[in-house]
Symmetry: D2
Subunit: 304 residues, 4 copies
């Protein structure tokens, strides 16, 4: 497959200025990101990296980090994890407080905020120095020692994080948060503030395309079954209230973030990351979805 | 792949009596089906049929029929269909009345009852003689002129169908049902009463594994894009509130019914139908899910 | 208390054209009622009738009829009634389908539609010829043999009654409707179509101000305890999602209808009915509420 | 009316041990209160105090304090208050997070927790030294300089107050909390920890029976209209999800607390406080409700 040609075609057919949508505006650090940017990077398991645009520009990965924290929590907690968080799509166009309440503090899945807060609580229980150890894990699977938190973003998230505070307090009232709320929130907001480029993220997501193994060292991080579980969850829960639309249009498991990034994989074939900051009304990158749709259409390959 | 050997292994490793669960009991015709039955049938695109157990026994396909009516409605209505029904998972462990109300009578997807009622309304609008024409379509894509409604089941469904009446009346109050309610319900209940064996159903589902074409005649029923859309919807919405669990354990797009059947496909490879009447608490066949999980585990193939 | 003077003051201080609001428009018979009408009638227990405006014009009493059907159902069913309908305010700005579902088909109170449908079901069970017997009861407590259904209104209500059909089907699925749905709905829609003037309604509501006895004949219809229960329910549940506002502004138990009527009582003192068709956004007569507020303000008397 | 005789009859007819129910157990300070206690105190506007049982024993007034904070907030904020909190019953058997979310952070009324948190926020904005000034206000309207917080109760409430933290964070996310969350919660939990006896509380509630004036000094605290509003809110919202039941059984405006106290008034006649720690499943004192029902039944007087 001539991925470089496909990327060039995508780049010539669509551009950020054509897309509607707004940059996330709930914190100034995200609101100030120039809207009309675009980058895309593909890493193939059989070797080969293909890229276009601002693919080396770091951006705030935000909710994409939920995939990494789920990965690390699975390593520590194993299947016991699923007693504290479910694996079903949330289907809730509104916030998940309602569902949390009816389901006694058990979040629908680990990729919504409530679920990621429980995962953060689990990591705070297991990690000696949670922020430092988490960063070390990301750097390891990314093969990249420069990845770091953006402390200004973390501080801003915390300052405006009332809704996450509401979620975590509600879960604590149901007994599904074990650690101190402030400590878990601090870890959670740092986790979301990590900055990576399309290139670095695609490199990291290879793990999920490669049955849980690092490509270069062949080190096994996850078992094939654990990898399958994570991919299945990305497929059904990775795009807020647009998982069905993404499944159809793109047909790959993936995860988006409000920073405008989308990471996706074709199991056994490649990982791909696209970044463009303007978000559609459901919170996913407008141009990102279009670019990925073009990729699977032009390559004729999706999981369906 | 030696599917016949895999089926034999499944048959020797698990049996219906090992599984908990109850046969659907809301109408006598389903309640009286002997619980400890099991059949399974695989049709490969490259030729080859593999089967085991009661795979020629007809059973009530129930909600599996929703895939066929979605198919036929797409042929008549095209993408205009998506203005009247969404494509997102419902994530609602309860009945969908709540969600319908908040979303102004637009069902979350065509595979939940509310969505299938809208699809039925669309078919009643387009078909000259809805029940007869629908049956003709099923017989055609199944290549089987003997497929028929079970009129006793249809009558029983109607007699106890208060919740479906509530759903359709609510949608009618929002203007999302165009025809007479009684006529749509009558069509809907007939549609659900169709009886097919594992063999016949697997033969019919080949269509979705084969990019929308009938295997024998090469006649194109659906475009590849329409097929992909239907498969994506099955993946995210085909298993009530267990779509995530099914995605992980089995990893194939599919649809289950309260008659105990599950039809699934591996795009480009095969269709498979399993039937065993005992249902787990979420309404899916207990042994059916286990058998499909063994199939994808033993064959080492899933979409993830 | 010089009620006639107070009514004259109200009539000079406010007029229908000053009020915003729309006439109920879901059926043509209500939509065509001229908006700028107003009538008011007070009946004192100590004797004395005071009236102003179009107080002898018949209007559609609609939900005010729920008080009469509750009364008749209590006579037949006694306290067993409260096993099938609760007595708490619904507090739901939306339709009550959600609450019905979470509370297993038990309506919050007998003055919302769901509750009134259960009450209608109870009456259909007890009355030999429900519509005829119900009318006879109203005529008796009203002391007025001319009160009748408006058959065109009943037919229109039925034609557009999808939401009520949804409610009753949902309750039937929970087992809280015992009779045939069509028969109960037919009775319900007839009941709502009764037409009465302010004068006739005020005369009838004297019963609730007079501890359950007819004023002229002294015949006891309800026990004091039954009367107190009905009055308490009117106080907390009689005004859709505006019971709290009405309690404060007017401070009397009462019931409104979408025909623009409001009937209220001051226990031990008087009954009062006001009618003006324009409704505020919560479905209560705009001028009706203002007129009653002036009445209790000017008379210096409310229950608080 | 011979209230002392009525109290003696109540005392001989019912006793705490006859009643089912559990003492509030979410904090140890409440859980350790001996269950089988009972006290009752009536203050008449025309003079005369009548009492029985443990009527001078201080207990935790808990939610009854919401009436006092509403009173003080009305004095500072006037009708602008109603832009931040509604006056309708909540009708929600579950927690109010759901309703808060659908209604954009505006609580249904000032007597549920969410509403009382908004009221606390308003007081924190207006009072120079919130806890001290609030206590001074209570002491003044109570005519009792000894009333005080129970600091152990306040600390325990804070320690287990995750659900209140969830509520206040959610409202803060909607912009309906202006001050620092920790400061508002600290004030709120102190407010709930106030201890008063039946005697002291009844003395204080005379204000609401007396059109807003202190009985002894004739000092006007609230206008008659403000008093009427507060009484109307108590009538429709003062008993969690049992306001309708209380309206019927007792027929007086009032407010209960999980400490087992209930304060009620008969406007123009008397105030009454009853205390007995065992709570019914809806959170109101079992014996308290029975005792008040006997009072209005035996005296033949209620507002209905």
């Amino acid at each position: 497959m001539d991925y470089q040609r496909i990327l060039a075609e995508i780049n010539s057919e669509i551009s950020p200025s054509q897309f509607n949508g707004k940059v996330a505006a709930y914190i100034p650090e995200l609101a100030n990101v120039p809207a009309d940017q675009f980058g895309m990077h593909i890493c193939c398991l059989q070797g080969g990296n293909y890229a276009i645009g601002a693919q080396t520009t770091p951006f705030s990965i935000q909710s994409i980090s939920k995939v990494f924290s789920l990965t690390l929590a699975l390593l520590y907690e194993g299947t016991a994890l699923w007693e504290r968080v479910d694996v079903e799509p949330s289907g809730d166009p509104f916030n998940s407080l309602v569902q949390l309440e009816y389901e006694n503090g058990i979040p629908r899945n680990p990729l919504i905020n409530a679920g990621a807060l429980v995962i953060s609580d689990i990591l705070v229980s297991h990690l000696k120095d949670p922020k430092k150890d988490y960063l070390a894990f990301i750097r390891k699977i990314a093969g990249n020692p420069d990845i770091d938190f953006n402390l200004k973003v973390a501080a801003s998230e915390k300052k405006w994080g009332y809704r996450n505070s509401a979620l975590i307090n509600l879960m604590k009232s149901f007994g599904n948060i074990k650690n101190d709320i402030e400590e878990v929130l601090d870890f959670y907001f740092h986790k979301c503030s990590i900055e990576m480029s399309c290139q670095a993220l695609a490199q990291t997501f290879l793990l999920y395309a490669n049955r849980g193994c690092l490509l270069d060292s062949h080190e096994k991080i996850l078992s094939p079954t654990q990898t399958k579980r994570i991919n299945a969850i990305m497929q059904t829960c990775g795009f807020y209230d647009e998982a069905g639309e993404f499944s159809f249009r793109v047909g790959l498991p993936g995860k988006s973030g409000v920073g405008g990034g989308i990471a996706a994989i074709h199991p056994g074939k490649y990982s791909v990351v696209v970044w463009s900051p303007k978000l559609n009304p459901k919170g996913n990158s407008s141009m990102g979805m279009a670019a990925l749709e073009l990729l699977t259409t032009k390559s004729g390959l999706s999981i369906f």
